[in-house]
Amino acid sequence: MQIKVYGTGCAKCRKAETIVRRALAETGNTAEVVRVSDLKEIVMAGVLRTPAVAVDDAMKVIGRAPTLDEVKGWIG
């Protein structure tokens, strides 16, 4: 499994990544986390508002950091 966190480096984007990593650690999941911060790549993925999180290229949330439970739901 691969989880992409799209973000330009703002506070909320860092929060999104922290939450994703925590959810992985708490569930013992070994999915790879990729941080996408290149503007071109972000826009090519169709993301207009950062942060956004995609699991295996399926966009899960756009424009806000997910909650811990949400992430656990996606990876469980």
Partner: protein, 394 residues
């Protein structure tokens, strides 16, 4: 938060009545919550007054009627008190009453506005706005963009991806700028708090409507200017060369309970970030109220000083503050006699133009276009300031 739990239940298939029940329950809970909010809100002044003078034991300054007036931030009646010590104690009482009233009052209003906006915004998204604007006639697109800018959720940290995404999808450049100006400039929190600040003065409605109207006008003019002067050439080449990327949208089918939950998420987000701004704002407001001499302030920001408006803009642009923190300062300045146009110019400059946003936009725009963008908005704010000062003299 009962809404989150409801959401889990509603995903399992259930008979119609069982599915409607969570919504009904949430509506009932919301109405009860609103009633409670209203009760507290309406009795806050009396409670603060009672706590200050009867529990903390401060001496009343004059009569009760007047001490309530002080709470509303528009009276300066300490001139008639001769005894210095008594005066100091009474000032302490006034300050305590002011704080005990002002802080909860601001936080309560903020809570309601942010919660309701969170729900309203769940119907709008930047992706949907982009679809509505793409391929339209520039003028139609600009008008739509101004309106959508007010309701679409926007954070200045996403300004760059949003800009590229809009342009790549064929949204006219002018409309993209209109959106980027309107979204932060017409601030909903500021609108409601302004309405509240000027409660009971004849300025209440004019100030709110003029703020809304002129904010939209500045956004429209900036967009018009960009289209008119064909400023595409100052957009970085790689942005224009980008073809439309994928269209990602999380197609969630939100139930009413989900939207309520999003309202609470918005409240959490704002309160985690904003409480400090509010505290600082109230503290600065209190200091202005009690310490800074009126003559000194009016020397810089008074009505007859022509430079007061540009000065307000210059002070406001580099400042980054949430409107919720700014309002107590505006309130204190207003009580000291600073004219309304100058105050609005200050507010608009703080919320509408931000340095971080410009730095982010530098990735996609050449410096010249950023300067035109900032210059156009700043000029608009200056005009608003001068016009308000002329029209709304007290």
């Amino acid at each position: 938060m009962p809404a989150a739990a409801e959401h889990q239940q509603s995903t399992t298939p259930a008979p119609r009545r069982a599915r409607a029940w969570p919504t009904v329950r949430t509506v009932i809970l919301l109405l009860l919550g609103l009633a409670g909010w209203l009760y507290l809100y309406l009795h806050l002044a009396r409670f603060a007054d009672w706590y200050t003078y009867d529990v903390l034991g401060y001496q009343r300054a004059v009569e009760k009627a007047q001490s309530i007036k002080i709470i509303e931030g528009c009276a300066c009646l300490n001139a008639a008190i001769p005894d210095a010590q008594a005066m100091a104690a009474q000032r302490g009482g006034q300050a305590a009453a002011f704080l005990l009233y002002q802080l909860p009052h601001t936080f309560m209003l903020l809570f309601l506005v942010v919660f309701l906006m969170g729900i309203v915004r769940s119907w709008f998204s930047a992706e949907r706005t982009r679809r509505l604007l793409a391929g339209r006639h520039p003028l139609t697109a600009r008008i739509l963009a101004a309106g959508l800018g007010v309701v679409t959720p926007f954070c200045s940290c996403s300004a760059a991806p949003l800009f590229i995404g809009f342009v790549a999808a064929g949204v006219p450049l002018g409309a993209t700028f209109t959106f980027l100006v309107a979204a932060p400039l017409v601030d909903k929190i500021a609108l409601v708090l302004l309405f509240d600040t000027f409660k009971g003065t004849p300025l209440q409605w004019p100030i709110v409507l003029l703020y809304l109207g002129t904010g939209l006008a500045i956004a429209l003019c900036t967009g018009w200017l960009v289209d008119r002067l064909r400023l595409q050439r100052y957009v970085e080449a790689w942005v224009l060369a980008m073809s439309d990327g994928a269209e990602a949208e999380v197609r969630e089918r939100l139930s009413f309970n989900d939207r309520v939950r999003l309202g609470f998420v918005a409240v959490q987000e704002i309160f985690g970030r904003v409480w400090l701004f509010v505290l600082i704002g109230v503290a600065v407001g209190a200091v202005l109220h009690a310490v800074v001499p009126q003559a000194w302030l009016l020397g810089a920001f008074g009505a007859e000083r022509w430079w007061s408006v540009p000065l307000a803009v210059l002070v406001g642009v580099p400042m980054y503050a949430n409107p919720a923190g700014l309002i107590p300062v505006v309130q204190a300045l207003f009580a000291k006699g600073v004219p309304v146009g100058t105050l609005l110019a200050l507010m608009m400059a703080v919320v509408g133009l931000s340095l971080p946003e410009c730095i982010i936009l530098r990735k996609v725009l050449q410096t010249r276009l950023i300067l035109i963008f900032v210059g156009s908005v700043a000029t608009g704010i200056l005009i608003v300031g001068y016009v308000f000062n002329l029209v709304l003299s007290r």
